[in-house]
C-alpha cells in the first residue's frame, strides 16, 4: 500500500486552540466541562465542553488579518470560524503549496450551521448558509483550494469516515494531499435533541465506568493533513480502515458488537497486522450504557480485551462530527510521545466483558494504534495508525 502520512494537525476544544495546548492539558488530567443552564432545555444544569467565543474571535481575527484583511469577520458563522482557525493552524507549517489540483479539502460535520435556524440568528446570514455543502464551499474558498471540497455527514463516524475516504483517495492516486477537517458546535437544536433521548449525563461523562450515565456534549474542531509526500517527524501513516453497518436499529447499537468487530478485522487486515500488534485503542466511549457495552464486546471478539484503551470524551465530551478527527489526532500524539492517556471519568469497570481501560498515564513504546467509532444509523468505523520510524 502506498503510504499515507500525517503531515500536520490541529485540535480546537474548550481545552485549547492547538494540538499541543489541548494535549498538555489532557496529559495532566484537566477536563473542559462547565455547568450550563437553560431553563427551557433542562430543569437541572448540564456539563458541556464549550469553545470560548472571545478566544475564537481573537484567533479568527488573527487568521483573517493574515489571509484576508479585506474581509468582514461578521461574514462567517461561528462554526466556519472554528474550521478556518483549525485548518489555518494545521497547514501553516506545511511547505508544499496546497492550492493546487493535487489537493482536496474534506469536511466532516453532522449538523453544520444548524444554529442558523434559531430566532435571532436566522436573519444574519443568507438562507443558503444552512446547507452543509455551502459550509464546505465557504471554508474551501477562504483558503483558495482549487478543487471543490467534499462534505461527509454520516453521524458520529463522520470524522473517521472522512479520514478513511481521504486516505483511500491518496492511495488510489487521486490526490497527493487531502486536508480533513471535522467540526460541530452545540446549539439548542442538538442539546434539546440529546436531552429528549435522555442520553445526557448530569455529571461529566464516565466512559466504561460502572456509574456511567450517558454522554456529555462538547464543541470541537480538528484538522489532519494527509499526504503521500509530506510527513511529520515520526512518519505516522494511516495503514488501514473499514466501515460497517449493524443492520439492527437506527438509534441503538448492535447487541453483539460483531459488526464493529468486522470493521476492526478488515482494517487490521488491510494494515497487515494482527490484534497483538496494536498497542493502544482510542474507543468511541460515549459513556451511554449501550455504546460502551457494545464496544467492549467488539473489542473482545477482536482479541483486543487486554490492549490498553481509553475514551478521550471524558476530557472534552462528544464532539460529534469532530470526534473522529480530534480523537485520531490525540491518538497519533500518544504514538509520538509513547504516552498513553488516562481515560478521564473512569474508576471501576462497568461493562460485562473485561477490557483494559487506562486508569493512569502509561509510558510504553507504541507502534500501531486503533481508533474506532460508532453512530446512529448503525454505522461503525475503524482506522489503524502506524509509526514508520
Amino acid at each position: 500500500m502506498k503510504p499515507v502520512y500525517i503531515a500536520g494537525d490541529n485540535i480546537i476544544t474548550s481545552l485549547g486552540f492547538s494540538t499541543l495546548d489541548v494535549i498538555r492539558q489532557v496529559e495532566v488530567g484537566k477536563t473542559g466541562f462547565q455547568k450550563y443552564y437553560d431553563r427551557f432545555l433542562t430543569p437541572t444544569s448540564l456539563p458541556l465542553s464549550m469553545i470560548d467565543t472571545d478566544l475564537l474571535t481573537v484567533s479568527f481575527r488573527e487568521t483573517l488579518s493574515c489571509r484576508h484583511p479585506e474581509m468582514d469577520e461578521n461574514h462567517f458563522t461561528r462554526l466556519e470560524k472554528m474550521f478556518i482557525v483549525s485548518i489555518d493552524d494545521a497547514i501553516k507549517e506545511i511547505k508544499s503549496d496546497l492550492n493546487k489540483a493535487d489537493t482536496l479539502l474534506v469536511i466532516s460535520s453532522t449538523k453544520g450551521n444548524i444554529d442558523l435556524l434559531e430566532e435571532g440568528k436566522k436573519d444574519s446570514f443568507e438562507p443558503v448558509r444552512i446547507f452543509l455543502w455551502k459550509l464546505a464551499d465557504m471554508i474551501g474558498s477562504f483558503f483558495g483550494f482549487v478543487n471543490r471540497p467534499l462534505l461527509i455527514s454520516n453521524a458520529c463516524i463522520s470524522g473517521v469516515l472522512a479520514l478513511s475516504t481521504a486516505s483511500r483517495m491518496i492511495e488510489a492516486g487521486l490526490y497527493n494531499h487531502v486536508v480533513v477537517a471535522g467540526g460541530d458546535i452545540l446549539s439548542e437544536f442538538v442539546i434539546s435533541g440529546f436531552l429528549s433521548f435522555q442520553a445526557l449525563s448530569p455529571d461529566p461523562c464516565k466512559p466504561f465506568d460502572i456509574k456511567r450515565n450517558g454522554l456529555s456534549l462538547g464543541e470541537g474542531c480538528g484538522t489532519i493533513v494527509l499526504s503521500s509526500k509530506l510527513k511529520n517527524s515520526n512518519a505516522i501513516t494511516v495503514s488501514g480502515s473499514a466501515i460497517s453497518n449493524d443492520a439492527n436499529h437506527i438509534s441503538g447499537p448492535s447487541r453483539t458488537g460483531e459488526e464493529l468487530a468486522m470493521a476492526i478485522g478488515k482494517a487490521l487486515k488491510e494494515a497487515d497486522l494482527k490484534h497483538n500488534d496494536i498497542s493502544f485503542i482510542s474507543a468511541h466511549g460515549t459513556a451511554t450504557l449501550y455504546n460502551d457495552e457494545m464496544e467492549s464486546k467488539a473489542l473482545s471478539i477482536s482479541g483486543l480485551q487486554q490492549t490498553p484503551m481509553n475514551s478521550f470524551k471524558g476530557y472534552w465530551g462528544h464532539t460529534l462530527g469532530a470526534a473522529g478527527v480530534i480523537e485520531s489526532i490525540a491518538t497519533t500524539h500518544s504514538m509520538e510521545s509513547n504516552l498513553l492517556i488516562t481515560s478521564a471519568g473512569f474508576n471501576e469497570i462497568g461493562v460485562s466483558v473485561p477490557i483494559n481501560v487506562i486508569s493512569e498515564n502509561l509510558h510504553v513504546s507504541v507502534q500501531h494504534c486503533l481508533k474506532i467509532a460508532s453512530g446512529f444509523g448503525g454505522c461503525n468505523a475503524a482506522i489503524v495508525f502506524s509509526k514508520n520510524d
Binding site: K111, I114, L132, L151, I152, L195, N248, I250, G377
Partner: protein, 232 residues
C-alpha cells in the same frame, strides 16, 4: 454475442476495469422510471405524503416500519426496494460485501425543520426523540441496511447537485480495492414537496444480471449516469 453499444462505450473509455449499472430507478413528482423505462406517469401531484404512499402501495411492499420513517428515508427506501425487485441479488453477494453511497443537497434539512418546530415555541415545547433521530441523513442508509441486513461500507455525502463524477469516484474507491463487491449508490433529495431520487446498482460483472437479458447494458460512466438521470 454481438458487440453492443455498451461494448463500444467500454472501449472508448478505456478504463482499467469497467463496472456496470445493472439496475436503476428515478423517482420524480411526475414520473417513476425503472431501468430507463417509464414505470408510471403521475399526472396529478398533490403532496409528498400522498405521492409516497401511493408509490409504496404500487410497489406492493409490506414493511410496517416504513410508516415510522421520515420523508427522506421513505423515498430512498422505496428507491432501494425497486433496485432489488425481480433479482437474485441477495443470493449472489455476502451482506458485508454490499456498499451504500448516497448523496444529496439538503442533508436531513426537511426533518431538521420539522424538529425545529417542536422547540422554537417555548410555550409549546415538545422535542421528540423519534423525530430527532431522523435529523441525520445517514439514517436512510441505516433503514436500507436494516431491511436487508446489509452490513458493508456506508457513506453519506452532501453536494449541491447530482454529481455523477462524484458518485463514480466514491463507488470506485470502494470497489476497486475490494472494500465492497457491489454498491447501491445515487442521489436522494427531499425538501418539502421538492424531491428526487436516482438510485443505481453497480456490479462488477454484467453477466450476473438477469433482469437486463437481451438489452443494452450500461457501463458505469458519467455519460450513462447522466443519461439515466435526465431521461425522466
Amino acid at each position: 454475442m454481438q458487440p453492443s453499444f455498451s461494448v463500444k462505450m467500454i472501449d472508448r473509455y478505456n478504463m482499467k476495469k469497467t463496472f456496470f449499472i445493472t439496475q436503476s430507478n428515478i423517482i420524480r413528482k411526475h414520473a417513476v422510471t425503472r431501468n430507463d423505462k417509464v414505470e408510471f406517469n403521475n399526472e396529478i401531484f398533490i403532496n409528498f405524503a400522498s405521492f409516497i404512499k401511493s408509490l409504496y402501495k404500487k410497489e406492493a411492499i409490506s414493511y410496517p416500519k416504513f410508516y415510522k420513517m421520515d420523508n427522506l428515508s421513505k423515498l430512498g427506501f422505496l428507491g432501494a426496494e425497486m433496485l432489488f425487485k425481480d433479482n437474485t441479488f441477495f443470493d449472489r453477494y455476502k451482506k458485508e460485501d454490499i456498499g451504500i453511497v448516497i448523496m444529496n443537497s439538503s442533508s436531513s434539512l426537511d426533518t431538521d425543520l420539522a424538529y425545529n418546530e417542536t422547540i422554537i415555541d417555548k410555550s409549546n415545547y415538545f422535542p421528540s426523540p423519534s423525530v430527532f433521530v431522523y435529523t441525520l441523513p445517514n439514517i436512510l442508509i441505516g433503514e436500507i441496511c436494516i431491511r436487508h441486513k446489509i452490513k458493508g461500507e456506508n457513506a453519506f455525502i452532501i453536494a449541491d447537485q447530482f454529481d455523477p463524477g462524484m458518485i463514480i469516484q466514491s463507488v470506485r474507491l470502494l470497489m476497486d480495492k475490494e472494500h465492497a463487491q457491489v454498491c447501491i449508490c445515487g442521489w436522494v433529495e427531499v425538501l418539502g414537496d421538492n424531491f428526487e431520487s436516482a438510485l443505481f446498482l453497480i456490479e462488477k460483472e454484467k453477466s450476473m444480471n438477469e433482469d437486463y437479458t437481451g438489452e443494452v447494458l450500461l457501463p458505469f460512466t458519467v455519460e450513462c449516469l447522466t443519461k439515466l438521470y435526465q431521461n425522466n
